[in-house]
């Protein structure tokens, strides 16, 4: 069943958004090669985080599918198609991430494993937001909701006090603890994603409770 679905699914991927995200991410990661005197770890980390965010924002559009209402009721339903999309796009994104890591000069590279964990957590959060939006609403383009929520979450993450911080500087005593927190974010995002990929039988919409209509993300 998966084989015949592969080609149409690949053709349906929202290429513009994915390409824009990856292109911006790679451009950002290439900056130290283009500018003089920028080989500090702090700078490399800031750029790789921006790259990760750009990738995540691009991948947030992964579930955009104008044909969603028509495939909700077919035997090979949404979950299979969603997993298939993820399986098609994520290896390409991983390749892009490796390229971004290689683009940052050796001297400016922060601990690569930890930064990759951050990127994975950001991407998983974006995908989980998109999947949750797709499950909660009848939206055919859940990506637009995810890309609005993700920057807000990132800003909240940036404003967290040092003790619970996520975006810590390289060499900070909180570095290891922060990456445990990133692992927790990744885990939560994966759980939300897995739970949301299942299509609901009936949707509940988010109401703001003031009788003023639906709260829009």
């Amino acid at each position: 069943m998966i084989g015949p679905l592969l080609r149409p699914t690949a053709r349906m991927l929202p290429r513009a958004a994915l390409t824009a995200g990856v292109a911006l991410g790679l451009l950002v990661a290439a900056l130290p090669r283009l500018l003089p005197d920028t080989e500090s770890q702090l700078f490399g980390l800031a750029l790789l985080r921006a790259t990760a965010l750009a990738f995540a924002l691009g991948l947030a559009f992964l579930l955009d599918d104008p044909a969603r209402p028509t495939t909700e009721t077919v035997p090979t339903g949404q979950p299979v198609r969603t997993w298939l999309r993820a399986a098609l796009a994520l290896p390409a994104a991983a390749l892009g991430w490796c390229a971004a890591l290689l683009l940052v000069p050796q001297a400016a590279r922060p601990p690569l494993g930890d930064v990759t964990a951050e990127a994975a957590a950001l991407t998983a959060t974006a995908l989980a937001l998109a999947a949750a939006a797709a499950r909660r609403t009848s939206e055919t383009q859940p990506g637009r909701i995810a890309v609005q929520a993700l920057p807000v979450l990132v800003v909240v993450g940036l404003l967290l006090p040092e003790r619970w911080g996520l975006f810590v500087a390289p060499g900070s005593p909180e570095w290891d603890a922060a990456h445990h927190r990133w692992a927790a974010v990744l885990l939560v995002a994966l759980v939300v994603w897995t739970a949301s990929v299942r299509e609901p039988i009936r949707r509940r919409t988010l109401r703001n409770g003031f009788g003023m209509g639906t709260l829009r993300p």
């Binding site: 911006l24 900056l31 383009q141 709260l215």
Partner: protein, 516 residues
């Protein structure tokens, strides 16, 4: 036969008349979109964050003590950074709102409505105005709160205060323009990431040494970190920057109107005027610090006595920059308490306010010790930890004679100095913790002062702790009785302990703290 007569069809189209108010629809749409904007989750979340952060700053940070003595030329630009949260949300959500019709496939219906697309664009841009107004109110309230403090000094600038609301408007216009140019939801978030990277590139890669013109292209230039400067020495082109923001906002708005199909002479003229204003703003804000400013900063840093006015209270002369003359009474209270503890000494002292302005607003340069006898340095910041630090400065000059001699104190006089400074505080033990560089009241360490810090050994620290536990009057009487011996560099720590009636340390410990 019957004839059917048709009544004449009601006229549904007519040429525009004088009584029409095309702007009423724009305003109605702007009102509607503004209300929609407030219901967006990013706007709600970031607005609550901004308001919460501001309220926290106003209420909870009061305990710090520093907020009781605001310097208004710093307070005005301190409120510029946090509203960028609102600006971010406005950019994302206005963009989203403009794209709504495209998303829902209602674009083509607008073709039959009397409201032209460019007016719709304008209405979307106007929908950010209520949020900008809210930010203006909050910024104004913050500044008014600071200005209403009895300890406030200095002058605020209206041009610094308008930066925050203008940046919110600019963000809204950028959101509209992006939506008109790139009709997809990924444009705005990726633009934000790109902008962040640009700002990070220029702030991290150049670590603050980026050219002046480049730094001022950013909508908000907070420039904080150093001690407050007199308002004449700020050198911030705030008025030009406000003009730049206004020009840029209008120019981008004209771009969005043009992109939605309005290409008339009026739009061209307004665009040209806005671009001219932007260019004038950039030209005005680009030159770095002028020669006059550098000379004025040099004068204020190297020879402050030429620009300061002095008042005499008792035996002490207080010299302050003109904007700080109201703070003399606060300094006098500290000086008089320390003098009283030292046995009501009437030494001739000069409290001189000093500031290091030569390195700009962002560098926290240390002040060098004064060599004139009886001269005490006081900085431009006051409140919180600055009060015990100043008391240390006063006590060390009383004991050692002048600041340079005080910075070389490496003997038992440190006990007398520290006790005089701390016993003059309302809560000596907590002041002791804060005035020590390492925030401890054990072991050797440095005690902060307005100029050079004072070194203390572990034994001296223990003695000061013991002295602070004793009644103030008893120690004060002993200090008065043995003043000559206590202020002599030759007196040993054991002798000081004997004179002040506390336990001497078992062994004369190493003086690594002050030799470092």
């Amino acid at each position: 036969m019957s004839t059917t007569t048709m009544p004449p069809a009601p006229e549904v189209t007519r040429p525009p008349a004088d009584g029409d108010r095309p702007w009423a629809a724009v305003l109605a749409l702007a009102r509607f979109e503004a209300r929609e904007l407030l219901l967006n989750i990013p706007v709600l979340v970031l607005l609550v964050l901004y308001l919460g952060y501001t309220a926290y700053g106003l209420v909870a940070a009061e305990q710090d003590g520093m907020t009781d003595y605001p310097v208004l030329q710093n307070a005005d630009r301190a409120s510029q950074t946090a509203p960028q949260l609102v600006a971010l949300a406005v950019l994302l959500c206005v963009n989203h709102a403009v794209l709504r019709s495209r998303r829902h496939g209602t674009d083509r219906h607008f073709g039959v409505l009397p409201l032209q697309p460019w007016r719709r664009t304008l209405a979307h841009a106007l929908s950010a105005v209520p949020l900008a107004g809210l930010v203006a109110v909050v910024v104004g309230a913050e500044f008014a709160w600071a200005a209403s403090k009895p300890g406030a000094v200095g002058h605020g600038s209206l041009f610094e205060l308008v930066v925050a609301p203008l940046s919110v408007l600019l963000a809204g216009v950028v959101g509209v323009l992006l939506a008109r140019l790139i009709g997809s939801a990924f444009a705005a978030p990726l633009f934000v990431v790109g902008l962040y990277v640009l700002l990070a590139v220029f702030s991290i890669a150049t670590s603050g040494s980026d050219p002046h013109w480049l730094r001022w292209l950013s909508p908000v230039v907070p420039e904080s970190g150093g001690d407050p400067l007199p308002s004449g020495l700020l050198g911030r082109p705030a008025a030009w920057h406000a003009l730049y923001l206004v020009g840029l906002t209008v120019a981008l708005l004209c771009g969005a109107v043009t992109a939605s199909g309005r290409r008339t002479r009026t739009v061209a003229v307004v665009t040209a005027a806005a671009l001219a204003a932007t260019a004038a703003g950039i030209a005005g804000q680009s030159p770095g610090d002028s020669r006059d400013l550098a000379a004025a900063r040099e004068t204020a840093s190297a020879s402050p006595e030429t620009v300061e006015s002095c008042t005499v209270r008792g035996s002490v002369t207080y010299c302050a920059f003109p904007e700080w003359s109201g703070r003399t009474a606060d300094w006098a209270a500290v000086v008089e308490r320390v003098q009283h503890l030292a046995g009501d000494r009437r030494d001739r002292l000069t409290v001189r306010q000093r500031v290091e302005a030569r390195y700009g607003l962002t560098s926290d340069a240390a002040l060098t010790a004064l060599s004139g006898p009886g001269q005490v340095t006081v900085g431009t910041a006051w409140g919180g930890n600055r009060i015990p630090e100043f008391a240390v400065g006063v006590a060390s000059v009383l004991v050692a004679g002048d600041e340079q001699a005080a910075s070389a104190v490496c003997d038992a006089r440190a006990v007398t100095i520290t006790w005089l400074a701390l016993a003059a505080q309302a809560d000596p033990m907590s002041a002791f913790v804060h005035v020590r560089l390492d925030d401890r009241t054990e072991g050797s360490g440095l005690v902060l002062a307005p100029t050079d810090p004072l070194g203390m050994s572990a034994g001296e620290t223990a003695m000061v702790r013991a002295l602070l536990a004793k009644p103030r009057e008893v120690v004060s009487a002993a200090v008065r009785a043995h003043w000559a011996e206590l202020t002599s560099p030759k007196t040993s720590l054991a002798r000081v302990a004997q004179l002040l009636d506390v336990k001497a340390p078992e062994k004369e410990d190493s003086r690594d703290a002050c030799e470092a």
